[in-house]
Amino acid sequence: MNIIELRGVRKQYHAKTALGGIDMYVRRGECITLFGPNGAGKTTLLKIISGIMSPTEGRLLYNDKPYSESDIKKDAFYLGHRTSLYTALTVMENMDFIRRLFSLNHRRQVEDILRGHGLWERRNDPVNELSQGMKRRLALAKGFIMSPEIFILDEPFTGLDHRWRSAILAKINDIKKQGKSVLISTHLVEEGHRLADRVAFLHRGRFLFIRDREEVDTAEIYGLFDSMGELAG
């Protein structure tokens, strides 16, 4: 069953077309990885799917209902380029705020999540004293308190070293096992490919392809990045 469906979605910024006619669907419990050079429209697409940005044209369905009548935002976790953290608050206070918003009473769960993301020692430090990588990890950790239906992650690996990449990868695999859907944009070909059930390549606001993982090998993606003069990780 499709959890999300996009039909003819276009997005026009002032004089620039960010997305030109996107048709796609996301099945329940599947992971789609979006590849593409900078400025291809990945961020715009993810913002539109998450419901915080309206498309210029096109229809969006969540569980077969138009977005305007659905509560996609209540069921999604969106991590953009910015971390959505209150930087003056401490790690624990940020997590506590989320916990309260979701009216969850299990402090233990929050503590476990912080430990699992290697943030427990820093729990009483203000976020603006953390390194970039730690901020990203905390931002992602928030998603695990929420236990949403769909994870939308825009470049979740930026600023993370190798060790944490593998840790996050493992987490995302856990999410998939729980039957949640995941949408990821990334420059990391190996990692993105390994995670995905389907792989998409976005270029100038259009899909070059969106295919099952088995039908795409990493060499092809590297090749595409190369031909666009962009460095893939």
Binding site: Q12, Y13, H14, A15, K16, T17, G20, M53, S54, T56, S68
Partner: protein
């Protein structure tokens, strides 16, 4: 292309009405006993104010429709109407000032009606400042629609507040007594003329906005 035809019809209508209106105001309407010729500006002043009010009402309704339907046509309509309204409101203030100088012996007075128009004027200037500050077309439409609604519902509150506020201060004379039948008829004609002008300017501006948007789209297509 229905809009185009309406615009042409209105244009020809105005070609007749405008000169006729001026003729009526300056030649047919009798000179007011106390105020003299200056009183004639009043026909324009009141008509402009009605036009501004009509335009802002249109902005209000279009803003609601935009938030409801999410169709950018309604945003173009809202901003076209706000532009027309702002132009008229400016002229209301100018003509009011010109009239007040000889009659009240001041350029400006804190009369509740003047004050309401002035505050409205500020609100809609803010409306365009905000529009200038947002690049994304849709976001611009969405946010300015909020101002289009909030600003409009403020009108009656401002009106009451300024009226009450004024009542503690000495009230300046009200504009001269009753109008005689000829004056009344001239006033009605002037009102009609300016309402047609409002609709004309609005449609004209609205069409221009639509054309601009289509041009953007075409530019895009040639680039792709």
């Amino acid at each position: 292309m229905k809009t185009n035809r309406t615009i042409s019809i209105l244009f020809f209508l105005l070609m007749v009405m405008m000169p006729l209106n001026l003729y009526l105001i300056f030649k047919v309407a009798p000179t007011e006993r106390i105020m003299g010729d200056v009183q004639r500006i009043f026909y324009l002043h009141v008509s402009l104010a009605s036009g501004a009010f009509l335009a802002f009402t249109c902005t209000f309704v279009s803003s609601i429709l935009f938030l409801w339907k999410k169709n950018l046509v309604w945003d173009s309509a809202a901003s076209a109407a706000a532009e027309t309204g702002l132009l008229f409101a400016t002229l209301v203030l100018v003509t009011g000032s010109l009239w007040a100088r000889p009659i009240w012996n001041v350029w400006w007075t804190w009369d509740p009606r003047l004050l309401t128009v002035l505050i409205l004027w500020f609100i809609y200037v803010g409306y365009f400042l905000l529009r200038g500050g947002i690049a994304d077309r849709f976001k611009k439409a969405q946010y300015s629609a909020v101002i289009g609604i909030i600003g409009y519902i403020d009108i009656p509150v401002i009106r009451y507040a300024t009226k009450w506020w004024k009542s503690i201060h000495p009230l300046l004379s009200r504009e001269g007594g009753g109008l005689n039948p000829v004056m009344k008829n001239v006033m009605f004609f002037s009102l009609a003329t300016f309402l047609v002008l409002t609709v004309f300017l609005f449609l004209f501006r609205f069409r221009l906005a639509r054309i601009e948007e289509r041009l953007q789209k075409l530019k895009k297509l040639t680039e792709d």
